[in-house]
């Protein structure tokens, strides 16, 4: 039993035309037992930047609190929000600080950068950044997610189509993973609005 598989999670982010979507499952488990079916894994840093944290729930909560703290300080000093690229470097640095006693989390970062260009990236638990132009995945269901996204993704989808694609990819992948599921949580972000939707999938 790996420590990354203690709580169970599935995260995916996809790039569309001038928009992005980030989605997660909703299960909080303790190994085989399900504790909650409404656990939040995607957090808003600012209007155009979201971070999903998969892996051990306690470390995800601690890491999120540290990141919010750092971003609020940044906002006070710079009088503006952090760019997604900058934030990704911050997360990477914070994770590498704990190189020999890491946070057991895999973050997925998605945001709209300069001129509202969508940005997504993921990293491992010690901060190795992985930028991608199409999609990034994380969590216990990551292998299924890679397959589903690779086959369902096409570039330059609009917000509606992107929502459909990411939802189908998420639901079909978590159905093959016993540690994640119990619904889905999808955020679709365009330069003008953020749409949050809950998906109902197989509730097991």
């Amino acid at each position: 039993m790996s420590i990354f598989e203690y709580n169970g999670s599935a995260l995916v982010a996809m790039v569309g035309k001038n928009c992005f979507a980030i989605a997660s499952d909703r299960r909080l488990g303790v190994q085989l037992q399900t504790i909650a079916t409404d656990f939040q894994k995607i957090y808003k840093i600012h209007e155009k930047l979201f971070i999903g944290l998969s892996g051990l729930a306690t470390d995800a909560q601690t890491l999120y609190q540290r990141l919010v703290f750092r971003h609020k300080l940044y906002q006070l000093r710079e009088e503006r929000d952090m760019k997604p690229e900058t934030f990704a470097s911050l997360v990477s640095a914070i994770l590498y600080e704990k190189r020999f006693g890491p946070y057991f989390c895999q973050p997925v970062i998605a945001g709209l950068g300069d001129e509202d260009k969508p940005f997504i990236c993921t990293m491992d638990s010690i901060g190795a950044k992985e930028l991608a132009k199409d999609f990034v995945v994380a969590g216990t269901a990551s292998e299924s997610l890679y397959g589903a996204c690779e086959s369902m993704f096409k570039p330059d989808m609009d917000a509606e189509e992107l929502f459909e694609t990411i939802s189908q990819a998420l639901l079909s992948s978590v159905d093959r993973d016993c540690l994640s599921g119990w619904g889905g949580h999808v955020y679709v972000v365009t330069p003008t609005e953020v749409t949050e939707r809950i998906l109902k999938g197989r509730m097991d």
Partner: protein, 204 residues
């Protein structure tokens, strides 16, 4: 192994815990109170390593009181739960407390609330929660019979059903349970469910 469980009702929350203090195959006592009153409107039921449980819950209780002395107002349930999580998270990579906690409280503005806090400091707000081997029976019974906004009588009936399941289906079932309730009038002991009475200690 120790069982603690709790649920939220119409305007109250209930926490129940077994009351056996066990050391390997020996039962030291059967009327150990594992649900601590943190302040007038908060309860904390804890299960896990005996020494850690007693020390950690007392530490939290005294810090909650200190906050009230310093600031003149009591902590909210959410704040107390997050403080507890913070203490567990800080100690996690140094000297972890092996204590699982169910915290229940009643606030004037929010009403009753229940927090699940794992020994590795995963925090989640829930309507029903359980720890220990008894949780397998408690969660199933509560999933079946729990509804939102139950009255005290209905909730106690459900608690009794859970206790009956634990007594009849768990191989080394704890004989006695304590039930505590918190509502707008405060936190207090509600009842004991005893099937074995300890011999009273003669006065010296």
């Amino acid at each position: 192994m120790e069982s603690v469980f709790g649920l939220v009702g119409k305007d109250f929350a209930i926490v129940a815990a077994d009351s056996s203090a066990v050391h390997s195959i020996l039962v030291h006592k059967t009327n150990e109170d594992k649900i601590m009153l943190l302040d007038s409107h908060k309860l904390m039921g804890a299960s896990g390593e005996t020494g850690d449980r007693a020390q950690f819950t007392e530490y939290i209780q005294k810090n909650v009181a200190l906050y009230q002395f310093r600031n003149g107002i009591p902590l909210t349930t959410a704040a107390a739960a997050n403080f507890t999580r913070g203490e567990l998270a800080t100690a996690l990579r140094k000297n972890p407390y092996m204590v699982n906690i169910i915290m229940a409280g009643h606030d004037k503005d929010v009403g009753p609330s229940l927090y699940f806090i794992d020994y590795i400091a995963s925090l989640h707000k829930l309507d029903k929660a359980a720890f220990g081997y008894g949780s397998y029976f408690a969660l199933s019974m509560m999933d079946r019979h729990y509804r939102k906004d139950m009255t005290v009588e209905e909730a106690i009936d459900l608690v009794d059903k859970v206790i009956m399941e634990i007594r009849s289906r768990l191989v080394v079932a704890p004989p006695n349970f304590v039930i505590k309730i918190v509502d707008k009038d405060g936190a207090r002991e509600y009842a004991w469910r005893e099937s074995i009475k300890d011999a009273p200690v003669p006065a010296v």
